[in-house]
């Protein structure tokens, strides 16, 4: 599903150049649940940005579902993001003046799905995350865990090839974190490919594979026995 070869990325900081990613080789099969771990500055966010087509790579190749991702203009990148990727953020990033259902329906608007169908689909995905009765509520009326579940429903709504989660539990307490991880595991069980960036060991062990980044290179890439979050809920 994801194929990365010899990926390099550096940022210009004034006169100096900061080499963040120093030759990453990495691939993800369909249906995997991968945790990307590393301390801050290890390059894990940069890697996620490049995977999410929010940033461009300097060197190397990136293939997503057989499509080479290179030299995309903004419009093309937007199309690919909409078609291939679903994002889950640490701070949820729901649009605060839109209701839960409207937030979930938003990616469908950019897919030019009709209004009626958008609403139906939004309700369907809200039901999947167990928030159907909250559909008309604004994000400010929801708890942190509920917000993240709405965000997950939104990421799912576009039916992307890959879900990218950037510290999805970073702003939540452990109980809610496990609830969210439980949901992510269940989505993964349905066959969706999910990448989770985290720095929490317990969250990482709820994935099926852990990739350790350190100073811009992969230092460890291992399959792990998945810990089901269900038991903590």
């Amino acid at each position: 599903m994801i194929e990365i070869k010899n990926l390099h990325k550096s940022y210009k900081m004034g006169k100096n150049s900061l080499h963040v990613l120093k030759g990453i080789n990495f691939s993800v099969e369909e249906g995997e649940l991968v945790a990307i771990m590393g301390s801050s500055g290890s390059g894990k966010s940069t890697l996620l940005n490049i995977l999410g087509m929010l940033d461009e790579l300097d060197e190397g190749t990136y293939t997503l579902d057989g499509v080479p991702i290179k030299n995309l203009n903004e419009t093309k990148a937007a199309q690919y993001r909409n078609k291939f990727l679903g994002f889950i953020f640490q701070s949820f990033n729901l649009i605060n003046y839109k209701s839960a259902a409207e937030n979930v329906a938003l990616p469908l608007y950019y897919q030019r799905v009709g209004r009626k169908e958008r609403q139906e689909k939004a309700l369907k995905y809200l039901e999947q995350v167990g928030l159907k009765q909250w559909a008309t509520h604004l994000p400010s009326e929801l708890s942190g865990g509920q917000k993240q579940r709405v965000a997950i429903a939104r990421a799912m709504a576009a039916e992307p090839k890959v879900l990218l989660a950037d510290e999805p539990t970073g702003a939540l307490d452990s109980k809610t974190s496990y609830e969210v991880m439980d949901l992510i595991q269940k989505i993964n069980d349905q066959g969706n490919t999910i990448l989770v960036v985290t720095h929490e060991e317990d969250i990482a062990h709820m994935c099926k594979r852990i990739v350790h980044l350190k100073d811009g290179v992969i230092v460890e890439d291992k399959k792990v026995e998945q810990v089901r979050a269900e038991q903590y809920v």
Partner: protein, 416 residues
């Protein structure tokens, strides 16, 4: 533009952000409102000034003789000058390229006006048809003295609205009535009026100058020479032409009547254009002032709309980032923001326009203050300002929106 989905999305956004929309709209609407009222008031002031000085035609010239004050070529000072028909005829012939209208006034002495055995205390003046334009009189009924009357020594008279009111109030119209002037019957053929509130000049009964001279022993005497010059393209040209004409005229009259060239008081000349020049300059200054104020108000409006758009876009940076992450194309986001901005400013601008125009329309005509009359505004000017504001709002919205769209999603979504 006609994308229904886009409109729905925009209406959603507007509905959910009532305060923001309201404040944007309010600032645009009040800007337009103030501007239109201001321009209207400026126009009203100009109307008022125009009205105030709408007395005699600005390019008119009145000439009347007095006594000489200097000795000249053996003639004593203190000699009374008498204008003659010949002066009028010569000027008409020699200067006829320079003026548009020319007329004379002859005031016969010791005449009695009688109507229905009542003695009327009004002045009688002999003149010709051009006086109406020179004095800027309007005709309420009938006709004015005409050339035929003058040629045929017709016994006709034109009275004023004031005389009509005071003497003929019981009649539907005084036209056709006869008045006796020193024993001779004159048929009233018309009623004139003076512009402005000053009715002191409505004391006169006009009769043909030839008749007056013939009937009241006037011989070829005349008391006044009156002219009206054409208006040139620019006011300055008119003034220059006026100066040349008066100089030439005085030169001729002084020569004819043996008046010393430096004797300023023997032949007097009233020339309202010199006064008009002052008011013209004042009017210009006022016009300029209101345009300047209007322009500055407009700039203030543009700045405030731009400012609001900047804040709106800034406030929506995160939302823009989210939309981008969800697959929105840059242009669709810029388009959406501008679409909303233009829609809100257009609706608000038109609201302000309608309110201000309505106010001017209903309150304007009722304003009765000196120097302010019927404040109104050119609809096209008002509409242009609305369009300019909308355009400014769109431009002001575009650049920050474009900048926001090009910010990295990660940066836009960063927690700070």
């Amino acid at each position: 533009m006609f994308d229904l989905e886009r409109w729905q999305e925009i209406f959603d956004t507007i509905r959910k952000n009532k305060l923001r929309t309201f404040l944007t709209g309010l600032s645009v609407a009040s800007g337009i409102f103030i501007l239109v009222i201001l321009l209207g008031f400026g126009q009203g002031m100009q109307n008022g000034i125009d009205n105030e000085f709408k007395g005699d035609a600005a390019t008119s010239i009145w000439v009347w003789p007095q006594r000489t004050t200097m000795e000249y070529k053996g003639l004593n000072p203190g000699r009374r000058i008498q204008l003659r028909n010949e002066n009028y005829e010569t000027v008409s012939k020699v200067f006829d390229q320079d003026f548009e209208k020319a007329s004379v006034l002859y005031f016969p002495n010791d005449v009695q006006v009688v109507y229905n055995n009542d003695l009327l205390v009004y002045n009688v003046a002999g003149t010709n048809g051009d006086l109406q334009v020179i004095e800027n009189e309007f005709l309420s009924e009938g006709r004015y003295i005409n050339e035929k009357d003058v040629r045929e020594n017709a016994k006709v008279a034109v009275i004023s609205n004031k005389i009509k009111r005071e003497v003929f109030s019981n009649l539907e119209t005084p036209v056709g009535e006869y008045i006796m002037i020193s024993g001779a019957g004159f048929k009233i053929v018309g009623v004139y009026g003076e512009y402005g509130r000053n009715e002191s000049e409505e004391e006169r009964i006009f009769i043909p100058v030839t008749t007056a001279q013939l009937a009241f022993n006037g011989a070829d005497k005349i008391n006044n020479l009156n002219f009206m010059l054409p208006e040139m393209d620019s006011f300055e040209e008119t003034v220059a032409m006026n100066d040349t004409f008066t100089t030439k005229l005085l030169e001729y009259l002084k020569l004819y009547h043996g008046v010393a060239p430096e004797d300023e008081r023997a032949i007097r000349l009233y020339n309202p254009i010199q006064e008009a020049k002052r008011f013209y300059t004042l009017g210009r200054a006022i016009e300029l002032f209101f345009w300047a104020v209007g322009f500055l108000t407009l700039i203030a409006g543009v700045v405030s709309v731009s400012n609001i758009m900047l804040i709106v876009v800034k406030e929506r940076t995160r939302e823009i980032g989210i939309r981008k992450a969800l697959g929105a194309k840059p242009w669709s986001i810029v388009g959406m923001i501008m679409h909303e901005a233009i829609f809100v400013t257009a609706v608000a601008g038109c609201t302000g326009l309608i309110f201000s125009m309505a106010l001017l329309e209903f309150v304007g005509p009722n304003i009765e203050v000196d120097y302010v009359m019927n404040p109104s505004v050119d609809f096209n000017v008002a509409l242009s300002t609305v369009i300019l504001l909308i355009f400014a709002g769109a431009i002001a919205g575009f650049f920050p929106a474009w900048k926001a769209v090009n910010v990295q999603v990660i940066e836009a979504l960063r927690d700070d």
